[in-house]
Symmetry: C2
Subunit: 333 residues, 2 copies
Amino acid sequence: MPDQTMPTLHDIISARPHVNRFLKPTPLYHYATLSELVGAQVWIKHENHQPIGAFKVRGGLNLAANLDLAARRAGLFTASTGNHGQSIAFAARAFGIKATIAAPEGANPGKVAAMRGLGAKVVLHGSDFDAAREWIMDVAEEQGGHFIGPTDEPLIHGVGTYALEILETLPDVQTIIVPVGAGSGVCGTSIVAKSINPHIQVFGAQSSQAPAMQRSWQAGEMLTAPMHTFAEGIATRVPFANTQRIMGHYLDDFLLASDEEIEQAIVLHLQHTHNLAEGAGAVALAVALKYKERLAGKKVVLVLSGGNLALERLYQIFNKYGANLPTFSPIIR
Amino acid sequence: MPDQTMPTLHDIISARPHVNRFLKPTPLYHYATLSELVGAQVWIKHENHQPIGAFKVRGGLNLAANLDLAARRAGLFTASTGNHGQSIAFAARAFGIKATIAAPEGANPGKVAAMRGLGAKVVLHGSDFDAAREWIMDVAEEQGGHFIGPTDEPLIHGVGTYALEILETLPDVQTIIVPVGAGSGVCGTSIVAKSINPHIQVFGAQSSQAPAMQRSWQAGEMLTAPMHTFAEGIATRVPFANTQRIMGHYLDDFLLASDEEIEQAIVLHLQHTHNLAEGAGAVALAVALKYKERLAGKKVVLVLSGGNLALERLYQIFNKYGANLPTFSPIIR
C-alpha cells in the first residue's frame, strides 16, 4: 500500500475539470494492421492530437489552474527540451501568466519556435537539460517567480487524465505501455490503472541509449546513466526521485528499445496509423514489437505521447532505411 | 436562392446526431508558423484525426443510419479509390450491414487493406474509378442491394457536420478552403457557411492535373478533363451533376495547385503541423500559399480532409526534394 503522500486516483479525477476546460479527450483507436504485426489487439492513445502535439499540455493546465494569484502574478519559470515547455507556455497563455523557459542549446528548433509562438520567453542556456534547469532555478529565485520542475505533482495529476480516458473507452484493457522521460505520464497512468483494476499491467518504455530511469527503477536506487538517444522527450540523464517512488510501487515492468528500433517504429506509425510520432511517441510501439511474446493476444494500449519530430530527423530516418523501410508493404487481413 | 430540392442547413443539422453517435468532433487548431508562411491567420480542420483518417466517415454513418431495414439486409455496394470505401465499410460494421466495395486495380494498397480490416469485401476491378463504379452498379442490381454513389445526398448531409464544428469553434472565420473530389465536402461546407453567414468565402481546391470539377464549375456545364494527379482523393475525371449544381449556387471560387505544389504542402504539413496529409488533404494549403495575396490578414480555415498517404509516396516525395525541402528551417516568431 503506497504511503499517504503519494498522488491518488482522487487527485487525478480532481484535475479533470481543469484539463477539460481547455482540452477535448483524445482518440483511442484500434489499428488492424498494427495488431497483426504485434500479434495483439493494439490500440493507440493519440496524445499527439493535442494542440501542442503532446500529452504534457494536460499537466501545465492543471498546474496553472491551481496557482494562487500571487504565484500567477510572479510568473512561471521552467526548463524544457520542448514538450514540457510548450505545455507551460500554453497554460501560461490560457491564464494570462508570463512564462520564461530555459532550453538547452541545440534544442529541437521546431519545439523552441512553438514555445515562442505560444508567447513564452525562451532562453537557450547550457549543454543539456540539467544545465538549463539549474540556471533557470537561479533566475526564478532572483525574480521571485514560481519554478516548475518536470515532475511537480500537479503535472502528474493533470497528465493522468489521459489514463482515465483510456479506462473509460476500453475498460477491459490488459496492458498499457507508456514512454518514460521524467515519469509523469507513467505515474499518472499507473495510479489510474492500478486503482481501478490492479490486474492491468503497466509497462514503462525508454531508449537503451538513455536508460537512467529504467536502471534506477530496476535497482531501487537513484542511478544516473549515459544519455545518447535522439529522442529528447525520453532523454533523462538524472532520475527523478518522486516519480521513481511511485513507479517503485506500481510499475509491472520497464522495457528498453534501441534508437534504431525507435526509428523503425516512427516509420511504422506513418505507415500503419498515418501519424507522425516523435522518438518518445514511438518507443511504446518499439518495445511492443520487441517483446511481442509478452503481449500475445492481449488488449494493449500504446501511448503515442507526442508527435513533435523535426522534419530534418524524419528525412534522416528515411535516408537511413532507404528502400528497405521496415515491413514496407501493408499487411492485408 | 437555391431551389427547394437542394440540401439545406436543416439537413446537415439533422445528420449530426447520427454522426455524433459514433464520432467525436475533430480539432480546429491555429498554427503560428503556418500563419506566418501564408500571411493570414491559418487554422487547420483536422479531419485526418477521424478513425478512418478522413472526413468521409461522417457521410457513411449518416447514410447507414437513414436506411430502412430492407436496405440494411440487402447490403451496401459502392466503388471507391479509398476513403469513401473506408467510410462505407466503417458504417456497415457499425450497423452490422454487409458491404461490398469495388476499387480500381492499382488502388492505394493501404486504403484497400484498411477497408478489408474494417470487414468489407473489396474487389479490385477496372482501370479507374469509373470502370469500377459501373461494374459494381451491375453487381448491386443483380443482388438487389443498395448502390451508394459518392455524392448521394445523405453523404453530403453527413460530411457537412464538420463545417458546423468549424463555425461553432471559429464563428468569425472569413474564408474556408476545401479539397474537391466528387464535391460532397465542399457542398456541405458551402451550405453551412452561406446559410449561417453569407459573407464567409468558400473556395474549392483541386489539382491542376485533374481539373474536371473546376472546369465544369467555371463553365457552368459538365466537362470531363484529363486526370493525372497522384492525389487519388481529388482525382475526378467525370464531374458529378448534383454537387456541381450546389457549387454553382454557393462557391466563391475554385483554385488549382499543381501536383508539385501539393507535394510541397505535404512536407509543410509534416513540418509545421506534425500531421501526415495525403494529397487531397494538402491541396487546401497548396492553394492558400499560391493565392496568399487573396487571404492576407484573414481568418482562414484549411480543411485537412484526410491523412491516408502511402509510405512509398512519402518516401518518393522526400527523395524528390532531397536536402532542398521547402522552407526547411522553422520560422521563429
